[in-house]
Amino acid sequence: MARTLINVPKTAQAGEVVTIKTLISHPMETGFRPGADGRIRPRDIITEFTCLYDGETVFRAELFPATAANPYLTFTLRATQTGTLTFTWRGDNGFSQTETATLTVT
């Protein structure tokens, strides 16, 4: 399990635009670098990130080898109702991690 840091405002007013910040620990090995033995290290990156808001996709990103290690993604969404935000990172070598957070709308 990679370590993640997720920042979701605890509460928001209906209709308010809120900022979500996510950070995940990942080497994002490009697949172009030689290792200490001179051989190319196999690619190991996160390729896709999605955020679901009560099951509906509200943000999606594709990541490529040029993305830095420990990718930090931030985006905004409009808070409509109290619900669960589901964050999923998928990548090479079957990497998959899901975290959830609750957004309370007052």
């Binding site: 370590r3 840091l5 910040k21 950070l23 994002m28 290690a69 930090y72």
Partner: protein, 257 residues
């Protein structure tokens, strides 16, 4: 080792040295000369990637290395109170080995002596995580100069190493960081070289590293053979660098380009 002893002796004769270096009022952290983007990255409590290591360290602090063994928290309790200001005074004197010891060395020694565990590998995620967590408890506090006469020889040896020309390029630490800070080496701005934020996240490394990793980088750049991790030369250099940086505030976990 013998060379270090000689350096220590030579420098001892020169007397107290910790008031030297850049005058206290002119000391500047590398933070001040970074681009605003990277400054914001360090300040932001979410965007700073070193926080991932900090979270690792916080977890390790409370976790016993083996069943029946004490966790760090078992002896030291709440790090926020017991470790506050500790890193600002390191490297310190280790009575057991009768030698100066840096923060990473102290963590390793604690594991061996009190936790009955194997030391972590140099620059391992765990060691960097714990060192980041302990050092971050001193964030914002000024670096202090421990008033311990037993550290005198290490200070002097550190200063001698700092000013000694080495490697195929014949450079010394002082040649850049004392004499030419604020100017450029190629495209890079030469900082004053104060270890205020270690362990820190370096964008070039794409990860967190120790001050010794940075020093090894510099030595490789000078085409000198770097000392090994944990070498007494590095601990002596760290002591001198901290004296030279006081009273700048501790910035751990910092971000640098």
């Amino acid at each position: 080792m013998r060379r270090l002893a000689l350096l220590m002796l030579a420098a001892l004769a020169a007397g107290p040295v910790w008031a030297e270096g850049i005058p206290a009022a002119e000391r500047r952290s590398g933070f001040d000369t970074m681009s605003p983007d990277i400054q914001a990255m360090q300040r932001d409590g979410m965007a700073n990637p070193a926080l991932l290591w900090l979270a690792d360290g916080a977890e390790l602090w409370g976790r016993a290395p083996a069943p029946g063994r004490s966790a760090c928290a078992g002896c030291h309790g709440e790090a926020g109170t017991t470790m506050r200001g500790v890193a600002a005074g390191y490297p310190a004197w280790d009575a057991e080995t009768a030698a100066p010891i840096d923060l990473a060395g102290r963590i390793q020694a604690c594991r061996r002596r009190h936790q009955g565990a194997e030391p972590y590998a140099d620059e391992s995620r765990e060691l960097l995580g714990l060192a980041t967590y302990v050092a971050a408890q001193s964030a914002g506090l000024p670096i202090t100069v421990p008033d311990d006469p037993r550290l005198g020889p290490a200070r002097a040896a550190g200063k001698a190493l700092f000013t000694q020309r080495m490697g195929q390029l014949g450079l010394s630490c002082a040649a850049c960081h004392d004499d030419n800070h604020g100017r450029r080496l190629g495209a890079a701005l030469i900082p004053q070289g104060h270890p205020t934020g270690y362990p820190l996240y370096r964008l070039e490394w794409q990860g967190v590293g120790s001050v010794q990793r940075r020093l090894r980088n510099c030595m490789t750049g000078m085409r000198a053979e770097p000392f090994a991790y944990g070498a007494p030369e590095f601990v002596a250099l760290e002591r001198y660098l901290m004296d030279r940086a006081a009273p700048l505030p501790v910035e751990t976990p910092a971000v640098r380009p």
